[in-house]
């Protein structure tokens, strides 16, 4: 929580209204609403199976909720698909890594530049001057991200050969390359050691601080969550049981019960 930030926290940029999602009778999310303010770092926490990843999948259009709407940048999105959301400026990372395994790190990040590529296949085949110019711009931006994430030495390695922690970094890099205004990060620090986690936090905060990217992240490590997020929403059994600043959430009775477990 940086006090003097360049990008002041603004109005809601993403609003989730009354979302319900079920898989053939099993309810994953029930009537959930919350919002995300522009330029903030928003964390979604909750026990395993609370519906956190499903929530992100609904926002980004991979799952189609049975009920509810998602508003982005002040407008209700009528038909949500991952592609439309990407075009509107919302990108994401995945819980179980969804990298392009046979492609190099640089190529993975270059795919993130897709929305900044306007040349068609014919122009690419003929290598027209504008293709070269565009490719150079995209490569420069990708190299920038690569050096920001400090992964220059592996940029030509196929990502499938990298260890888990590095793959997570590449995935963050790919999301960053889209230059989206909102990033959904699904457990960006899962399976990392303390040092790697510290690095990751640094990158997330730095991006938020320098470019003003709004961050929505799912994380299990409470220490991390409390440190880096502006506001936290807590899900349990597909419902919101707490929403507020880290301090408010920490002292919320329901949240404590959900985490420590009480007899109902």
């Amino acid at each position: 929580m940086v006090q003097n930030r360049k990008f002041k926290i603004g109005n809601p940029i993403l609003e989730v209204n009354d979302i319900s999602l079920s898989f053939g009778g099993v309810k994953a999310i029930t009537d959930t609403s919350f919002n995300v303010l522009e330029h903030e770092v928003r964390a979604i926490i909750g026990p395993n199976g609370a519906g956190k990843s499903s929530m992100l999948n609904c926002i980004n259009g991979i799952y189609k909720p049975q009920k509810g709407t998602v508003s982005f940048k002040g407008k209700v999105v009528p038909q949500i698909t991952p592609n439309i959301m990407a075009q509107m400026g919302l990108s994401r990372t995945f819980q179980n890594l969804a990298l392009f395994k046979r492609m190099s790190v640089l190529d993975n990040i270059l795919v993130g530049r897709k929305l900044h590529t306007n040349t068609n296949f014919l122009e690419v085949a003929l290598q027209l001057p504008k293709v070269k110019k565009e490719e150079k711009n995209n490569r420069d931006r990708s190299e920038e991200i690569i050096s920001f994430l400090e992964i220059e030495d592996i940029k030509d390695t196929p990502v499938g050969k990298l260890p888990y922690g590095l793959q997570k970094k590449v995935e963050l890099g790919r999301a960053l390359a889209t230059d989206s205004s909102v990033l959904l990060l699904d457990e960006p620090m899962a399976g990392m050691n303390v040092e790697e986690k510290r690095d990751m936090c640094r990158f997330i905060l730095k991006v938020n601080d320098e470019i003003g990217t709004t961050m929505v992240l799912i994380e299990h490590d409470m220490g991390v969550v409390m440190d880096i997020s502006d506001r936290v929403v807590v899900l349990d059994y597909g419902k919101v049981i707490g929403d507020g600043t880290p301090d408010e959430v920490r002292s919320n009775k329901k949240v404590i019960d959900a985490y420590l477990g009480v007899e109902h």
Binding site: F23, S53, I62, Y63, F94
Partner: protein, 301 residues
């Protein structure tokens, strides 16, 4: 009235011919159920087994029953080798990789069969004529081949047998467990290897039976492999993991292609049964990709 009778005859003939596709499809389903593997070589297995059967009978003068048993045993050996040398090394490979490997296996079987028993068309006489049964022709006025009826009966028997095997035996339970999650199944002590071997052998014997039916009709020749390809649209319609699906799919394909061929074919110069099943399959894929009886697969992210 004659028109209706003729239509009936076309449909019934198609349905019975469809059971022949079902027999081939059955082999695919068996292996798919147990290992979630698409065995592209099932068609080649049909060709290989029946050519071996003919070879034993005609080249070595081995009696019918003994030759049949020998061919069945040969298919068990093929199953054994496949399990050991193809499937086991590919345990952790992707679906597509295994599919490619089974295409390779198909090539091997076709090549071996031809190297061992030659390429000329062989006649297979099962003692069942491929001509209309007089009793049915007289009483019902339908011209239906005895071979078709036999194929239908054999298919029905095999389905009942396999259904009972899957539903009520310990092996069947093990099979279903392996199909669902091979790793989990083997970790609780289900002998994966034995089950695979069993399934491949069963698929081999099913292939032999299917081959006999096809061979008796069309002659034992390489074209059987292409005919067996039609089991693929059957599977798409019926669902890859369903034994009843294989049957119903076969019936649908058989009847539809005959009806289309007889009523629409003449306007286009005929032979539309060559592609009609595939186009039918595409329509199914667009509206019901899991097939009539298949399980819907939800992709998790």
């Amino acid at each position: 009235m004659d028109g209706l009778l003729f239509f009936m005859e076309v449909v019934v003939g198609g349905l019975l011919a469809g059971t022949m596709y079902s027999l081939v499809a059955l082999g695919f389903v068996l292996i798919f159920k147990a290992s979630a593997t698409f065995n592209f070589s099932q068609g080649a297995m049909v060709f290989f087994s029946v050519l071996a059967f003919c070879g034993f009978m005609q080249d070595f003068n081995i009696p019918f029953v003994l030759a049949f048993i020998m061919a069945a045993l040969l298919m068990v050996v093929v199953g054994l080798c496949t399990e050991r040398f193809v499937l086991r090394p590919l345990m952790n490979a992707s679906e597509d990789t295994v599919l490619m490997a089974t295409i390779g296996l198909g090539y091997v079987l076709e090549g071996l069969a031809q190297a061992a028993w030659g390429v000329e068309v062989r006649r297979l006489d099962l003692g069942i004529g491929d001509f209309p049964v007089p009793w049915i022709a007289d009483n019902l006025k339908l011209f239906i081949s005895a071979l078709d009826i036999t194929a239908g009966l054999v298919a029905a028997l095999m389905i009942i047998g396999l259904f009972l095997l899957f539903k009520y035996t310990k092996i069947g339970l093990g099979l279903r467990a392996v199909a669902d999650d091979a790793g989990a199944a083997s970790s609780i002590g289900i002998p994966l290897k034995h089950i695979m071997l069993l399934v491949w052998s069963a698929a081999g014997v099913v292939a032999l039976v299917a081959g006999c039916m096809w061979g008796a009709r069309a002659g034992v020749q390489f074209a059987l492999v292409d005919l067996a390809l039609k089991a693929l649209p059957v599977l798409i319609i019926g669902g890859f993991s369903s034994i009843p699906g294989a049957i119903i799919g076969g019936l649908i394909i058989g009847a539809t292609e005959k009806v289309l061929e007889v009523y629409i074919g003449p306007f286009f110069g005929g032979a539309i049964e060559g592609w009609a099943p595939y186009v039918l399959a595409i329509f199914f894929l667009l509206y019901r990709p899991e097939g009539l009886f298949g399980e819907k697969i939800i992709r998790r992210v």
